[in-house]
């Protein structure tokens, strides 16, 4: 009922996040940092509308790559607050631009000079984010990194999202907060996509 729409690969991929040490500040001006919440691709494997986390990342990365910009992925462990995660990512980003993502799908584009509670673009309605939207978010983040002025990704609205998703969103929020490890710093992760079958 809620499988992602739009172009997704016909191949089935699995994603494993491999910690490769503490996250460091980037120096390349052409990089965007993707900052993941503690439970992303960990205790959770998909967003509130069942977009697989592997697909979320693959589309964000594709959007960035299409713009000719590089990406680095970090995972934050000591907070599940989207603004805090995104802002930390932005401060570690060589371009100053980051995309922060919560396990349930809520996403934000941040910039390091902004106040933590501010943002460049916010996508608060996690139930409305599908693969094509994640692609556009990646693309916009990369374009900000290049100093271009992208049109903000159009945000959608659905009045009936409340009865369907409000409580589940609260539950996922609480669950993600449970996985916070106070005092554990952000780590840089490598992504292992495995292509299990084609077509």
């Amino acid at each position: 009922m809620s499988s992602p729409t739009g172009p997704t690969s016909t191949a089935e991929r699995t994603l494993r996040l491999r910690d490769i040490g503490p996250a460091r500040r980037g120096t390349r001006p052409d990089e965007v940092v993707i900052a993941l919440s503690p439970a992303f691709a960990g205790i959770f494997s998909k967003t509130i509308v069942e977009v697989p986390h592997a697909e979320v990342l693959r589309q964000l990365l594709a959007g960035i790559e299409e713009q000719g910009v590089t990406a680095r992925v970090i995972q934050v462990h000591d907070t599940a607050d989207l603004a805090a995660i995104s802002h930390l990512g932005a401060r570690l980003s060589g371009s100053g631009i980051s995309v922060g993502v919560l396990s349930r799908g809520t996403t934000m584009i941040h910039q390091r000079d902004l106040a933590r509670l501010s943002n460049l673009e916010l996508f608060p309605q996690s139930p409305l984010l599908d693969a094509p939207v994640f692609r556009q978010i990646g693309s916009n983040a990369a374009r900000y990194a290049k100093g271009e002025s992208p049109e903000p990704v159009p945000t959608r609205n659905d009045q009936m999202a409340r009865p369907r998703w409000q409580a589940k969103a609260a539950l996922l929020h609480l669950k993600e907060f449970e996985t916070i490890e106070a005092g554990r710093g952000p780590v840089e992760v490598e992504l292992d996509f495995e292509l299990s079958s084609a077509g």
Binding site: G6, P7, T8, S9, T10, A11, A62, E65, E66, Q67, G68, Q111, D113, L114, A115, S118, N119, L120, R135, S139, Y144, G147, E148, S149, E151, A198, G199
Partner: protein, 608 residues
């Protein structure tokens, strides 16, 4: 000695000038400015007029009973309207080309081959029939596209290029074992004719294509004879300046640039009637107008676009004046050529071409000014006498004379919203005044259309304020190249954007165009309306129509406060040896209060 107050009711502001008059001398006491109430020339103006008078009295510390007389202007009897119509269109037939400039094409170089759907690539693998250009419909994932193409190349398919529906060109190219040029974001990719010879060209970043935008390049690629080369020339022209393009060779495919018949404009002059096709462009229309002068009325052929344009103007007038449309006579028009981005018919990727359009401003005389009613109400409210007197233009010229460094003969220019008004006061005190159609609102409309903003508020902002590019949260680069640093971070919605710098801080201009392009559009619009009209209006008041016969030109009104228009006009008038600048009424009021002050001066001169 008499205490009098001049009141000028303008379209948006009402100004007052309080002075003591006697023995030919005028002593300025105070000025005031307030918002005009109601449409100019209607009884409701009285409220604003009274407010302005009271404010001036208060500022001077004088009670209303000491007031001898209120002098009101005779409102300029013109109002104006606007319309715009596109007169050309570009049509691509048989899906001959794709020239939409995606932001990120893939690969570089040129690939020529027969178009094949990606779903059919596997079938030709066994018996390769020469070079192929692969066409990929929407819904295909970039990883799958790359894998499919790589597999095809491995089996011997001669892949030369690809055309994609999605925004995947770089992604696909990065994953190809054989790098080929790739054009993407072709929305209507299903319309690309299959089995046809085609060429795909992608230039390196920062460059434009060289082969497909060159007629002989096309001739070489497709092996065309001279006759055929002549035929494809429009295709090459349409692709000039693009970073990527696709040309498909189809039997009768073509790109045409068609003129849209929009109808005939009839200019009825006092001596003769002149007809002109509107699609002939602004120059032809203005030539025709010159032959028909002085204009009695203008009409458009019913049922044509121009008929609609003028009907629209007349409707606006009827709404404002309450005069029936049949009684409204158009006394001047200004036609301006403009280029409007429009989607190309038959395009496959939402290609946009700059189409020619004509904007038309029209002006109507109205005899329904009801300033006497205003005067009666003002007199009643203030318990004093009030009189309507003085042609607005003449009064403005008198007021402008109080600008330091100005003497008779003086010409004034009032650049308003709907009309541009000029008046000349000669050495003997005789005055002529003229009004021509087109001013600030037309500029806004041109900016709105040429930038495809579809938002008059943004267009107004672009018109009124200088531009800057926000380069970080802490600094922006002004349009003149200077950099300004700020202490507090700029708001997120202006980050990396071209902004206008208005009183409320930077506001983003929602367009893909860069700062220079926006600036060019803005300045061109101002030049084509304000400069053209200033010269047109001044010629009509200048002795023998000779601008060299003018000495001093004083700019008045709100547009005289524009940050660049006064300089543009000064530059335009300099070759005629005219001193031109923004007025400074009484040496203190800037370009404001000229008419109100002029009313007081005229009263003083006429006083026994």
């Amino acid at each position: 000695m008499e205490l009098v107050v001049g009141v000028d009711v303008g379209n948006s502001t009402t100004e007052a000038c309080l002075a003591r008059v006697g023995d030919g001398a005028v002593t300025l006491l105070a000025t005031a400015l307030t918002r005009t109430t109601g449409v100019k020339g209607t009884p409701k103006n009285a409220d604003g007029a009274v407010t302005a008078v009271r404010a001036a009295l208060e500022r001077a510390g004088v009670t209303p009973d000491a007031l001898h007389r209120v002098l009101l202007n005779e409102a300029t009897p013109v109002i104006s309207g606007l319309a715009m119509e596109t007169i050309t269109e570009t049509i691509i037939t048989e899906s001959t080309m794709i020239g939409h400039n995606p932001a990120t094409p893939g690969g570089t170089g040129i690939g020529v081959g027969v178009t094949v759907a990606i779903g059919d690539v596997g079938d030709i693998a066994d018996g390769p029939e020469g070079p192929v250009v692969v066409v990929v419909p929407p819904g295909w994932d970039f990883d799958d596209v790359a894998a499919t193409l790589n597999a095809a190349v491995d089996t011997g398919v001669d892949l030369t290029a690809a055309i994609l529906a999605g925004d995947d060109a770089v992604l696909v190219t990065n994953r190809l074992t054989r790098k080929v040029p790739v054009v993407d974001e072709v929305a209507a990719v299903e319309k690309v004719p299959l089995g046809m010879l085609s060429a795909v060209e992608v230039a390196p970043p920062g460059r434009t294509i060289r082969t497909l935008s060159n007629s002989y390049g096309l001739a070489t690629v497709f092996g065309l004879d001279p006759q055929q080369t002549r035929q494809v020339a429009p295709v090459a022209r349409a692709l000039t300046g693009n970073r990527s393009a696709v040309v498909v060779r189809t039997p009768t495919g073509d790109v045409t640039d068609r003129r849209i018949p929009v109808g005939e404009l009839t200019l009825r002059g006092e001596a003769r009637t002149v007809r002109v096709d509107v699609d002939a462009g602004a120059e032809a229309i203005m030539d025709a107008l010159a032959r028909a002068q002085p204009l009695v009325d203008a009409t458009g052929e019913p049922g044509t676009h121009v008929g609609g344009m003028l009907a629209q103007v007349r409707d606006t007038m009827t709404d404002i004046t309450g005069q029936p449309a049949s009684e409204i006579a158009i006394r001047d028009v200004l036609a301006v050529d403009t280029m409007v981005p429009a989607e190309v018919r038959g395009g496959l990727a939402g290609e946009v071409a700059l189409e020619n359009a004509v904007a038309l401003a029209a002006m109507v005389r109205t005899d329904r000014s009801r300033m006497q009613a205003v005067a009666d109400r003002v007199a009643d409210e203030l318990g004093t006498s009030a009189a309507v007197g003085g042609i607005e233009g003449a009064m403005a010229a008198l007021g402008a004379l109080t600008t330091p460094g100005v003497e008779r003969p003086v010409a004034v220019l009032d650049l308003g919203g709907g009309s541009t008004d000029a008046a000349l006061l000669d050495r003997d005190g005789a005055c002529v005044a003229m009004h021509v159609a087109g001013a600030g609102e037309l500029v806004t409309k041109l900016i709105d259309a040429e930038l495809a903003l579809d938002n008059r508020e943004t267009a107004e902002h672009v018109k009124r304020h200088p531009l800057a590019k926000v380069e970080s949260f802490y600094h922006l680069r002004h349009e003149d190249g200077t950099v300004q640093f700020v202490q507090e971070p700029l708001p997120p919605q202006v980050f990396a954007r071209v902004v206008t710098l208005g009183a409320d801080g930077p506001a983003p201009v929602p367009t893909r165009l860069n700062l220079d392009a926006i600036r060019r559009v803005r300045r061109k619009a101002k030049r084509r309306v304000f400069v053209v009209n200033a010269l047109r209006a001044l010629r009509q008041v200048a002795p023998r129509g000779d601008l060299r016969a003018l000495d001093f030109v004083v700019l008045l009104g709100g547009s005289a406060l524009d940050f660049e228009v006064p300089d543009m006009l000064a530059d335009a008038l300099a070759p005629f040896g005219v001193v031109c600048g923004t007025g400074n009424v009484h040496g203190t009021e800037g370009p404001r209060n000229a008419v109100a002050s002029g009313l007081v001066m005229a009263y003083s001169e006429a006083a026994p």
